[in-house]
């Protein structure tokens, strides 16, 4: 069923909407969640939460990119879960590694009220990403949005891990420069 038809079911408040969403996107959403959580149980919980939240959000929302819309909900759920788990020192995983990579992106600042920290919004990151070429953006997103491992990205892209690492390194540098100028 195409996304438009699924969305119509949401608007009709037909619970088949959730079934169709699950049928079409369960695997995808599960991957998004488990990349962050590395726990089948937690991932499944997040995906189920996603269906619930989607049901509540649509209508009035009618997302243009339904897949991306769902993925964002799942990711946010997963991140919340990750924080809880991390606080409990459970599930130390790839996300820690990924966060350590992102740590180098953050410019050093002595001003705790630095503008970029207070005002950094997704729109800025959007602009940064849109300024990248498609391949670079793809790799960046797979790593820092989908939290794929380097090995997974390399395999998926048919490239060597060192090339993926290098691409990410360069993009992180660019992002750092970008953040320094905001």
């Amino acid at each position: 069923m195409d996304d438009n038809m699924i969305l119509n079911l949401y608007f009709q408040r037909d619970e088949k909407a959730i079934c169709e969403t699950q049928r079409k996107y369960a695997g995808y959403l599960y991957t998004v969640a488990s990349n962050i959580l590395h726990s089948a149980e937690d991932a499944e919980e997040c995906v189920n939460d996603t269906y619930f939240k989607t049901w509540e959000a649509i209508p009035p929302k009618r997302p243009t990119f339904f897949k991306g819309f769902l993925a964002k909900i799942t990711r946010n759920c997963s991140l919340d879960k990750y924080r809880i788990n991390n606080a409990k020192k459970r599930n130390a995983n790839q996300v820690d590694l990924l966060l350590s990579e992102l740590a180098e992106v953050i410019p050093a600042t002595t001003d705790v009220h630095s503008t970029y920290e207070n005002n950094l919004v997704a729109a800025d990151i959007n602009k940064f990403l849109l300024n990248l070429n498609k391949e670079t953006r793809f790799i960046f997103m797979r790593r820092y949005w989908y939290a794929d491992s380097i090995a997974t990205i390399a395999s998926g892209c048919r490239a060597s891990e060192s090339k993926i690492k290098s691409s990410l390194l360069r993009t992180r540098r660019k992002l750092k420069g970008f953040l320094e100028l905001t």
Partner: protein
């Protein structure tokens, strides 16, 4: 900000971006995606080992007079014939070569440009320089997406021209057409047949993967032995986007795509090329410079300098062109050459003049750091950078290389009138009215006939950008061309003073000498660069600069004339660098890939081994011969020369080097 916060913010990006990266590409597409990436990377490998080497075969450096001066004011303006060639997909900073006696193609300094075979097309047969059938299994096959060096060589006597053979790969599937100034031949089923000889529009052509196509670079026109400018057989004068100087000496035709020349504070050079002495100083004196100091020198760094003789020849050539053009008015639509008449199919419009720019300037200005690579003498930047950038009052456009992921920087103009404001990092369209002075400084009358009936505007599409070209008629001649370019700019004009990097970096390198390095044996040659921070107000004042001259927190300034000093590397010398080429096995946590070593061999490995060498995408190009190179600053000389344009920090104790540190802080 905590990394987690950044991770969270990244999660809020537009859903379309999320959806775009939802799935890994299927095998064929994925291969194309990354083979293209790999092809580009392989190109880096090629150019990484290609020489920024000065082969002073017939080259004599003439010391500049001591009384030359450069004023900052003049340096702020580009006193040249600068126009972007918007119609070309192959922007190049210059395209010039000489056929040497051994059949190789070299630049005016005698540097080997590229090992491509010289061939002649005769009755659809390709013959080599010995008159034998050219073997098409020669190892000169490049993927079609590889940028071909733009040779504009044609030996009038022999009719030889460089052949570039390319094999269509799956990465070329998006190519729709070829530039019109190439003669395209297809090699299919053992036959080498021409597709088209058309210097008009781009030629749409269907490509099959595995197909070999050849490019013979043919100039549109040339000067015959009588000094008349004529069209090449089969070509037409059309909306060519190049100006050519053509000289014929000893049976070798040299076609120069021109035109320089602008002042940069890098020193005055004079070059001797074979029997042709070039003097920039003389050239400057020839030019109309209404508001300039008579003693002003023209500063040129390492790009080729044009000489008075060349300029005068150009005047002649252009006058010939104009004669032809003028001859076309009325009912004259033919040009006669060797008893044959060639029909002029399209009018020539001398719209564009290529500029030759200082290579270092572009590398520096492009903020390219680790994105900059060098292809012979042309800096490339990865194409994920903004297309346009204002640098020191000049709009620089980064034009995509055909089929590649790289961009050539191209100066658009020195005088920019900004019609509308633009914002930083927003995709607003900024209208920029560029006033182009069609002076043709080397011409006597300064007029160019463009064969427009009236003021007319034409819209050209170059990539994603739309450009409106307006031609203005003055009397019977077009005097000034105006370009209006709608393009997104990513540069903010503001009075905000950028802050330099955090102090630790300056402190760390305090006392270190800065510059580009070249190593020969145990000798280190340092081409000095002065790093001027925007916060160095005293120095800025001393140099007559202002903070508006800074488009980044620092400025790299070369001495005029360039200053080089020799030091000695010892066993105690340490080296600190970033292993961006993945030549070393490092701790996984060493994300910065910092290497500290006292091994000169390791450092040389780092200098000479390019990135991406492990890609198997393309066969290795012909190996570069080891050069015996007379030193040009900034060049590594060991083995196969490579380029090191990053500013290094060198600590010395007397004449001995104690440490060389590479930081990705500056690129020159």
């Amino acid at each position: 900000m905590k990394p987690e916060k950044l991770f969270e913010v990244i999660g809020e990006v537009d859903e379309s971006i999320v959806a775009e990266s939802a799935e890994y590409p299927r095998k064929a597409q994925g291969a194309g995606l990354f083979l293209r990436f790999a092809a580009a990377a392989c190109l880096i490998a090629v150019i990484g080992v290609s020489a920024w080497a000065v082969w002073q075969m017939n080259y004599t450096r003439v010391e500049t007079p001591a009384d030359t001066q450069v004023t900052q004011e003049a340096n702020a303006h580009y006193d040249t014939l600068l126009m972007a060639d918007f119609l070309m997909d192959f922007p190049s900073l210059f395209s010039f070569g000489i056929v040497a006696e051994d059949g190789s193609i070299r630049d005016i300094r005698g540097r080997l440009l590229e090992e491509v075979p010289l061939v002649r097309l005769e009755n659809d047969r390709l013959l080599d320089i010995h008159g034998h059938e050219f073997p098409l299994d020669a190892p000169f096959r490049w993927p079609l997406t590889r940028v071909a060096t733009q040779f504009n060589l044609y030996d009038l006597d022999s009719g030889f021209t460089p052949l570039i053979l390319m094999e269509v790969t799956e990465t070329d599937e998006n190519l729709q057409s070829f530039p019109s100034w190439w003669v395209l031949y297809q090699y299919i089923d053992g036959a080498f047949t021409s597709v088209s000889i058309d210097y008009g529009e781009h030629m749409p052509i269907a490509l099959d993967i595995g197909q070999v196509v050849g490019f013979l670079s043919m100039p549109s026109f040339f000067v015959d032995e009588d000094g008349r400018l004529i069209m090449n057989e089969g070509s037409v004068i059309n909306r060519t986007s190049r100006f050519w100087h053509v000289s014929l000496e000893d049976g070798v035709l040299t076609v120069l795509e021109i035109l320089p020349l602008y002042e940069r504070p890098y020193g005055l050079e004079s070059l001797r090329l074979q029997d042709m002495e070039m003097s920039l100083r003389n050239l400057v004196e020839q030019r109309h410079r209404p508001n300039e100091n008579a003693n002003m020198s023209v500063s040129v760094a390492e790009h080729e300098a044009m000489a008075v003789e060349v300029a005068r020849s150009m005047i002649d050539a252009f006058n010939d062109m104009l004669s032809i053009q003028k001859g076309l008015e009325g009912d004259g639509q033919f040009v006669e050459y060797q008893g044959r008449q060639y029909e002029i199919v399209n009018d020539a419009r001398f719209q564009h003049i290529r500029s030759i720019q200082d290579i270092r300037e572009f590398a520096e200005a492009a903020f390219t750091q680790d994105f900059a690579e060098w292809y012979f003498y042309r800096p490339l930047v990865h194409d994920d950078l903004p297309r346009y950038r204002e640098i020191d009052g000049v709009l620089v456009m980064f034009l995509p290389i055909w089929g590649e992921r790289f961009l050539f920087p191209q100066i658009i103009d020195g005088d920019i009138e900004i019609l509308e404001g633009f914002t930083f990092r927003d995709s607003f369209i900024a209208r920029v009215n560029i006033s182009l002075e069609m002076i043709m400084r080397y011409m006597q009358d300064g007029y160019i006939s463009a064969h427009h009936d009236a003021a007319s505007s034409e819209i050209f599409q170059v990539g994603e950008h739309t450009m409106l070209l307006t031609f203005i008629l003055e009397g019977n001649e077009w005097r000034i061309f105006r370009y209006e370019i709608e393009l997104p700019l990513s540069v903010e004009f503001s009075d905000a003073v950028a802050t330099p990097p955090t102090p630790p970096l300056e402190v760390i390198h305090e006392g270190a000498l800065t510059g580009a390095i070249a190593i020969q044996g145990n000798a280190l040659y340092l081409d000095f660069v002065e790093v001027i921070w925007q916060s160095d107000t005293a120095r800025i004042l001393e140099l007559g600069l202002s903070r508006h001259d800074f488009t980044r927190p620092y400025m790299l300034r070369h001495d005029n004339p360039p200053r080089t000093q020799r030091f000695e590397i010892t066993d105690e010398t340490t080296f600190s660098f970033v292993d961006s080429s993945f030549n070393f096995e490092l701790d996984d946590q060493n994300w910065g890939r910092l290497v500290y070593t006292n091994s000169l061999d390791d450092f040389i490995l780092h200098l000479t081994q390019p990135s991406w060498s492990e890609f198997e995408f393309q066969p290795t190009p012909p190996s570069w011969p080891e050069f015996e190179i007379q030193l040009e600053v900034g060049t590594a000389l060991i083995g196969t020369p490579t380029l090191q344009r990053i500013v290094y920090f060198v600590r010395v104790d007397g004449n001995y080097v104690t440490n060389i540190t590479q930081e990705f802080m500056f690129i020159q």
